[in-house]
């Protein structure tokens, strides 16, 4: 399975036109970017990979991941992952209706208290909810049930990620929700892996952009009478950032390919872990190569670097996934170690 080049080209054109430096800046100041979202939704990109029968746009998970990679590349300030492959996926899986507006999900903070009561009402708080203030429905999966909750009934406390994107606290008190049984394979654990995969795709795009930006900046910026990219100490940063971008892209592609087929827990866990560590190294290298200019709001590096700092923590940081992959590898024993590296989830019994 592969992605149609037309999809890549169309999405790239859309984002290149709309996600200008000032538009992203404005979205951060306003806490939303309704024009960008509207244009994105009108093309059908928001519901890509969701079956047309359920009100989606059709297409594969690979298509959705390609769009997310481009969202990451252009730093598009919209809840693309939440509405489509996360919240929309839960709704479509459980046979609940897709709303017209934005869907978001509770990524699962430790201090969340949100729960579905026996009568189908929802109470409690969900934290760090992406674009909670702008969304129409919050989707949660809890004890075998999926609930679609109207956000107009929530009390909203605004909060932001390190990238300045909305990550709000939504509190509900006996709010009537649409509830359905969660089918097999659509539980909190599956949402965690799927959320991690969405972040890997976003991070692959952001790291590629950041790496390219750094190559071009260091070729333009001159010191001691020549472009700073001519200095070996600077070249080291360029090479390391491009390696981490390539490593993350490869991890995203390989994990996406397996997820499109079936069980991809090993690939997703490994990809998120690799991407998290790569993001740490690559942001350090790119900022250093940019010098003071990279520390300003007026220059665009921070659109990529701050998003990477945000996404590397969402849906599992280094510790969580290193523990998961480590326990999985150890359980397979010494003889299973290399077969796991080459065979991935297929090698898991």
């Amino acid at each position: 399975m592969s992605v149609d080049q037309l999809l890549t080209d169309t999405a790239s054109r859309l984002f290149a036109e709309l996600c200008t430096h000032s538009a992203i800046q404005e979205a951060e100041a306003n806490g939303q970017a309704p024009e960008i979202w509207q244009a994105f939704a009108e093309t059908g990109f928001a519901w890509i990979s969701l079956p047309e029968a359920a009100g989606g746009s059709g297409g594969t998970l690979l298509d959705a991941l390609e769009v997310l990679r481009l969202v990451g590349y252009y730093a598009a300030p919209i809840p693309a992952a939440e509405t489509g492959m996360l919240g929309g996926w839960l709704l479509a899986s459980a046979g609940l209706s897709l709303p017209d507006g934005i869907v978001t999900v509770a990524p699962g903070s430790q201090n969340d208290t949100i729960a579905i009561a026996a009568d189908g009402s929802v109470s409690g708080a969900a934290h760090m909810v992406p674009w909670g203030r702008q969304a129409e429905r919050l989707v949660i999966v809890n004890s075998g049930q999926v609930a679609s909750i109207p956000i107009e009934a929530a009390s909203v406390t605004n909060n932001v990620s390190l990238a300045g994107e909305p990550r709000d606290t939504l509190t509900f008190d006996n709010v009537a929700a649409e509830v359905a049984d969660a089918p097999e394979g659509a539980d909190a654990d599956a949402l965690r892996f799927r959320g991690a995969l969405s972040r890997v795709a976003l991070m692959a795009g952001a790291m590629e952009k950041m790496s390219q930006l750094t190559v071009s900046y260091t070729n333009e910026r001159e010191q001691f009478g020549r472009p700073v990219a001519r200095f070996q100490a600077v070249q080291q940063h360029l090479v390391w950032a491009s390696q981490d971008a390539a490593l993350t892209r490869m991890a995203a592609d390989a994990a996406g390919r397996e997820a499109d087929r079936g069980d991809a827990r090993f690939e997703i866990a490994s990809a998120k872990l690799v991407a998290n560590q790569a993001a740490t190294r690559a942001t350090k290298a790119c900022h250093q190569a940019h010098g003071a200019m990279g520390m300003t709001q007026e220059y665009e590096l921070h659109h990529s670097s701050r998003r990477l700092w945000s996404w590397r923590s969402e849906y599992g940081g280094v510790n969580e996934w290193a523990t998961w992959v480590g326990e999985t590898a150890i359980a397979g024993g010494a003889d299973g170690l290399y077969p796991l590296i080459t065979g991935g989830s297929n090698a898991l019994s």
Binding site: V215, N219, A229, Q232, Q235, Q236, L238, V239, S242, Q243, A246, L247, R249, M250, A251, D253, A254, R257, F266, E267, A269, S270, A271, L273, V274, Q277, V318, N319, W321, A322, T323, W324, V325, G326, E327, T328, A329, I330, G333, A334, D335, L337, Y338, L340, I341, T342, G344
Partner: protein, 385 residues
């Protein structure tokens, strides 16, 4: 630069299973002292067994004793051998690069002379690039060959020549046209094949490794006669041929698997005991990175099979892979609370001791990571390398 994800076909997976079965039968765990990747020991009998299965020189044409296989097939065989710590040292260089160079640039007479023997696992090659005054600046080599009746008279010294004392032949980069003032250093170089065992005027002296082991040698030539039939390719085109050779040398599993047998042995020795969170997450980090890096490295082999020359990609993978090897060794050392000894009763600790002592070489051999960065960054900036 683009790394396109790829995966193994059914036929390639079948080869992988076949190699795994061969290794499990020939070298069951506990029956041999694993090597650290390509620092494997030399075992002519083992090389012969691999050759009997068509796994030495496998990408070479059938006509010359090879198997007409692809770079990816070789990748599969090599990664299994290296992660197992199998003794592939004897045929290693001939299989990885010299056979390819002779096939690509040599005459039919040379192919006939060398390739069948390489494919039978009967010919060990050493590489003659570095000199006392030429390391990273390889084009500055000063070993010279002067024209003589029917051949060349060679004088000069090569250094850091791994295993010249165990190998049979030497592929040597040297100057066949004197460099004029202001001339291009990359012109006038040639690659010559020199018999290590039967050549008058060739002298080998060991350069003991920091731990006393004998891998390195100095090879000096005093009026050594090399016949014309031992010149590979066009005289004067040695630099370009050598650059091609290095694309084969870089980016493969040998650049990221050296400490694998050590890590696997740690798991073997701790099996059944409760591992601390630090060890658990270290296994997680290493396995995840190996998985991603292997995918990159495999994609480079696919590019080679597609007829491309992925020199930037392979430099990036080698630079990253060898740095990762060093990171692994450092993290393993942090897990061990007592002093390491090369004679430990624990195989894991013996291997780790060896990793520590030889590790610094990983980011130096075959082009230092500094040189690789310079090559890769020119590629990233679209400049000529």
């Amino acid at each position: 630069m683009r790394f396109t994800p790829t995966e193994l076909t059914e036929a390639e997976l079948a080869l992988q299973s076949e190699v795994r079965k061969f290794l499990a039968d020939e070298l069951p765990p506990g029956s041999h002292e694993p090597g650290l990747g390509m620092q494997a020991s030399h075992d002519k009998a083992f090389s012969k067994k691999m050759a009997e299965r068509g796994w030495v020189g496998m990408a070479l044409p059938k006509e010359w004793g090879g198997s007409d296989k692809k770079a990816v097939d070789r990748f599969i065989v090599v990664e299994e051998m290296l992660r197992w710590g199998a003794p592939v040292g004897y045929h290693w260089v001939a299989d990885r690069q010299t056979g390819n160079i002779i096939n690509k640039f040599g005459t039919d007479e040379q192919r006939e002379r060398f390739l069948p023997q390489i494919c039978r696992g009967e010919l060990g090659f050493s590489i003659g690039m570095s000199e006392p005054d030429s390391g990273s600046d390889l084009a500055s080599v000063s070993t010279r060959a002067e024209r003589d009746d029917g051949g060349w008279i060679v004088n000069g010294t090569k250094i850091w020549t791994s295993n010249a004392h165990e190998n049979d032949w030497f592929i040597c980069l040297l100057r066949t046209t004197p460099l004029e003032d202001g001339g291009n250093k990359r012109e006038g170089l040639s690659q010559l094949l020199i018999d290590l065992k039967n050549t008058d005027g060739l002298e080998l002296s060991p350069i003991p490794f920091l731990n006393g082991e004998h891998h390195f040698n100095e090879v000096s030539f005093t009026d050594v006669f090399v016949p014309d039939e031992n010149v590979v390719g066009q005289p004067g085109m040695g630099w370009n041929q050598n650059t091609t050779e290095m694309a084969y040398e870089r980016g493969g599993p040998d650049r990221w698997l050296s400490p694998f047998s050590t890590v696997e042995q740690l798991l073997r020795e701790t099996q059944g005991s409760e591992l601390g969170p630090r060890t658990v997450s270290l296994f997680g980090e290493l396995v995840a990175r190996w998985w991603a890096l292997r995918n990159l490295s495999l994609s480079v082999s696919r590019l080679i099979d597609a007829g491309e020359a992925p020199s930037i990609e392979s430099s990036l993978v080698k630079e990253m892979g060898t740095r990762f090897e060093i990171e692994i060794i450092e993290k393993l050392v942090e897990l061990v609370d007592h002093e390491l000894t090369p004679s430990s009763e624990s195989l894991f600790q013996r291997l780790l001791a060896q990793c520590v002592l030889t590790g610094p070489g990983n980011t130096i051999r075959g082009g230092t990571i500094e040189i690789l960065r310079s090559v890769a960054s020119k590629g990233l900036q679209g400049l000529p390398t």
